[in-house]
Amino acid sequence: MASSAAASEEAVKAAKVLMVGAGGIGCELLKTLALSGFCDIHIIDLDTIEVSNLNRQFLFRKCHVGQSKAHVARDAVLKFRPNINITSYHANVKDAQFNVEFFKQFNVVLNGLDNLDARRHVNRLCLAAEVPLVESGTTGFLGQVTVHVKGKTECYECQPKPVPKSYPVCTITSTPSKFVHCIVWAKDLLFAKLFGDKNQDNDLNVHSSESGASKSNVFERSKDEDLDQYARRIYDHVFGYNIELALENEETWKNRRRPNPVYIRDALPEEDSRQNGSSHDCSNEQEEPSAMVSLGFRNPQEIWNLADNSRVLLKALRLFFEKREKEIGNLIFDKDDQLAVEFVTAAANIRASSFGIPLHSLFEAKGVAGNIVHAVATTNAIIAGLIVIEAIKVLQGDYKKYRMTYCLEHPSRKMLLMPVEPFEPNKSCYVCSETPLLLDVNTKTTKLREVIDKIIKSKLGMNLPLVMIGHTLVFEDGDGLEEDEAANYALNLEKVLAELPAPVINGTKLTVEDFQQELSCSINIKHREEFDEEKEPDGMVLSGWSAPVEKQVTSNGGASSSGAPDTDGNPEDISTKPGMKRKLDEVLDSKEKFDASSTSSAQVVDDDDDDDMVMLDEDPKLAKKKRLQ
């Protein structure tokens, strides 16, 4: 007994550990590692500290807002463990400096990330460097810790992870049926059009019927045009005119509820245009201009009616132009920008009311628009403890003892913390087992650029890909390209697949690589003419690997942006927790898996001598995935 404790201590003292992420899990983890005797820790985080972090990222104080999380976390921990080495990097783990050589110096890598993209990237580097990875995630009261060791267990990508949901363009622009569709419209179309980069593509219709030959852009504010008049003009255009225009297309509304156009004269009939006027009606000078404050709305949990939403919209628009004019043209929606959140909430609500969709409070709207993940300190602390326990096992190479541990809100067979043995690697995982993939695509109409953006970078998660057809290199990404090479690749991007220097047609095989991630895979092309706009919005379909499951859309659901926060086991309603339940279903109930050639058989290991092994999966027909032995 004593010797194993001593051996454990030795392993910990000698260990060099990499932490990726210094946020909710990261703060708890760094603290626990330091207390547990680890004395050489590297930590990477690209983020800076925000007020909303302080309810759980306890190494940070109000005075640190704006500073680097990695650096401040390091300083805070050195206060109670001054003699250990902590190296902090305020950087993106996807940066070139964190290459395979960098990863190779560590005995174990511990992730405390909040997005799928970075997790996949780290997974690939750990595989390439052959360094064990301990992964983790939390949402509200739920959490999990998983161990990934090349060759011994599944890699992080062996089991499909829910990908953030994206919506077809027409749903956003013409036929919203859920509140989240209205939010995406308000954020990515209206807000972007009014305050963002004017040169960006935007699907919002900005042309009025009035002018003949030259269609004027309604959003252009004429010189010295009265702000109120401008605001009302915009309002009537997007909520009134554009809806009338859409109603003209009978086909669209055959089986759908017809939206009601909303005009300012209807929403705010009694109001003189000057009533919304002077912004000096607010009681005192705020640091941050806020429509809510100006109008006296104090409760972010309150659901405003149509009239109040309209007042907020007009006021917010006005305040942007009056107080933040310099930023207009460069603004990107930020969930911590109060005025932007107010604007988007109001706009989404007015649109929702048009389409008969329930309205939401600012608090709820902010959660949707900002892809906010709800979070508490306790779950992070529990998960951090579990991570350290796994890390210590990994350092000792105790692979029979590795566990995936789930932190549950409701006990399962008396357990709130449920350990499960890891699975063997998935033989058809394209990341760790090099299985070729299949891509259905129209090779005559699809450009190379689309395949790279939608499939290679997005679905396959490659950062700096290289695309080859046979021996011909048709595309490369990264620094250090010659001018003529870069020009050539730029040309290739705009060519349809069938017209590339090495033509891509039915049966062609693409080789795709990312050097940094040391990942290479083959994609077999299958030409297809037609794709379903609603079910296959990308216009191409990747298969041959366990396809990712679409995250369920709930009121806190993500919008269409990539790089949205991780939805790994991400439930919104803590009582139904769909994401977690799905993962547990895979583990506990084990219906037929995506890939028919393997199955999940999760066994909760009962170490008691006198108890039977508990078998949770009973499907003797399918070959059982082998346990780690």
Binding site: Q301, W304, A381, I382, H410, L416, N556, T576
Partner: protein, 327 residues
């Protein structure tokens, strides 16, 4: 238009700070937290994790009771004590930790209560809504639990122990009414808890065979500690033979097979002495933190009535231990 009654609104500061957790448990629960008063007796690795969690969550006040002077040993699992003798020398654990905790959330009142938990009763207890004891003798725990139950005010009682890589949490909420969300719909529920006395008096043979072995092991150790007049956790490996002998006696009296309390487990617990494994402190403090929040907010199924963790098997299990008269 309207909206809530003005005094029910959170302040702008609270809204900004608590945004992420309000999305978990709601404004109402947050308000209740801000009115709750918690007393923690016994400052150690597990309880300071609890303290960190509930201060961050925004309880109304936290009082710490632990007059022991800080020693170097305390630095092992406690990140609230700066490793600087000039700061901690001659000061009590409660005092030093209180100072650090204040920083975590300026909206929470953190203070020191001088005194001994074995003397707290009546009027003093009534100042609090939640009492947590750790590293006190079983006699003291029983005394305080009894007083909590005698009070006309509803006071929730918890006990928490971390020995090496193992831990136990005991919960007594007396009669607890709360709300559980069932498929999105709120469902009112009520639970009835046993007192600590009842929970440790159940005849062992009445318990299901799969009952967590830690339950029995901890009872043996408690018994040993009080028979020796030791302070909690002052035993060491040299006590093992005596502990095993006690196990033998207790099992005989309770008609329990000795193998239900493995020697290896007792050895680990005894060898641990006062030491706490920091990852296990984090887990226990996290679980207990969640329990305290559930109890104050009246939302979510609380643990009934023991929780155990052992990093050897990695399971965190609940046990519903009945009283002596239950069959």
């Amino acid at each position: 238009m309207g909206g809530g009654v003005p005094e029910e609104l959170l302040t702008a500061q609270e809204t900004a700070l608590y945004d992420r957790q309000i999305r978990v448990w709601g404004v109402d629960a947050q308000k209740r937290l801000s009115k709750a008063h918690v007393l923690v007796c016994g400052v150690n690795g597990a309880t300071i994790e609890l303290c960190k969690n509930i201060v961050l969550a925004g309880v109304g006040s936290l009082s710490l009771m632990d007059d022991h002077v800080v020693t170097e040993d305390d630095l092992n699992a406690n990140f609230l004590i700066p490793p600087d003798e000039s700061i901690y020398s001659s000061r009590s654990r409660a005092e030093v930790c209180c100072e650090s905790l204040k920083d975590f959330n300026p909206m929470v009142r953190v203070s020191v209560e001088k005194g001994d938990p074995s003397l707290i009763d009546g009027e003093f207890l009534d100042k609090f809504d939640i009492i947590v004891l750790s590293r006190t003798s079983m006699k003291t725990k029983l005394f305080v639990n009894d007083n909590c139950r005698k009070s006309s005010k509803h006071i929730a009682f918890y006990a928490i122990e971390c020995k090496g890589s193992c831990g136990e949490i005991f919960v007594d909420l007396q009669k607890h009414s709360y709300v559980q969300k069932n498929a999105g719909e709120p469902e009112p529920k009520e639970l009835s808890y046993h007192s600590l006395q009842e929970a440790i008096s159940v005849p062992w043979k009445n318990l299901p065979r799969k009952t967590a072995k830690l339950y029995f092991a901890m009872r043996v150790l408690e018994n040993y500690e009080s028979s020796q007049g030791h302070g909690a956790c002052e035993i060491s490996l040299s006590d093992l033979p005596a502990v095993l002998a006690l196990r033998k006696n207790m099992c005989y009296e309770m008609s329990l097979n000795e193998s239900q309390i493995p020697t290896a487990l007792l050895e680990r617990l005894v060898a641990a002495g006062k030491k706490e494994h920091p990852p296990v402190c984090a887990i226990l403090g996290g679980i207990l933190g969640q329990e305290v929040i559930k109890s104050i907010s009246g939302k979510g199924d609380p643990i009934k009535n023991f929780f155990y963790f052992d990093d050897t098997d990695g399971k965190g299990v609940m046990e519903d231990i009945p009283g002596p008269s239950t069959n």
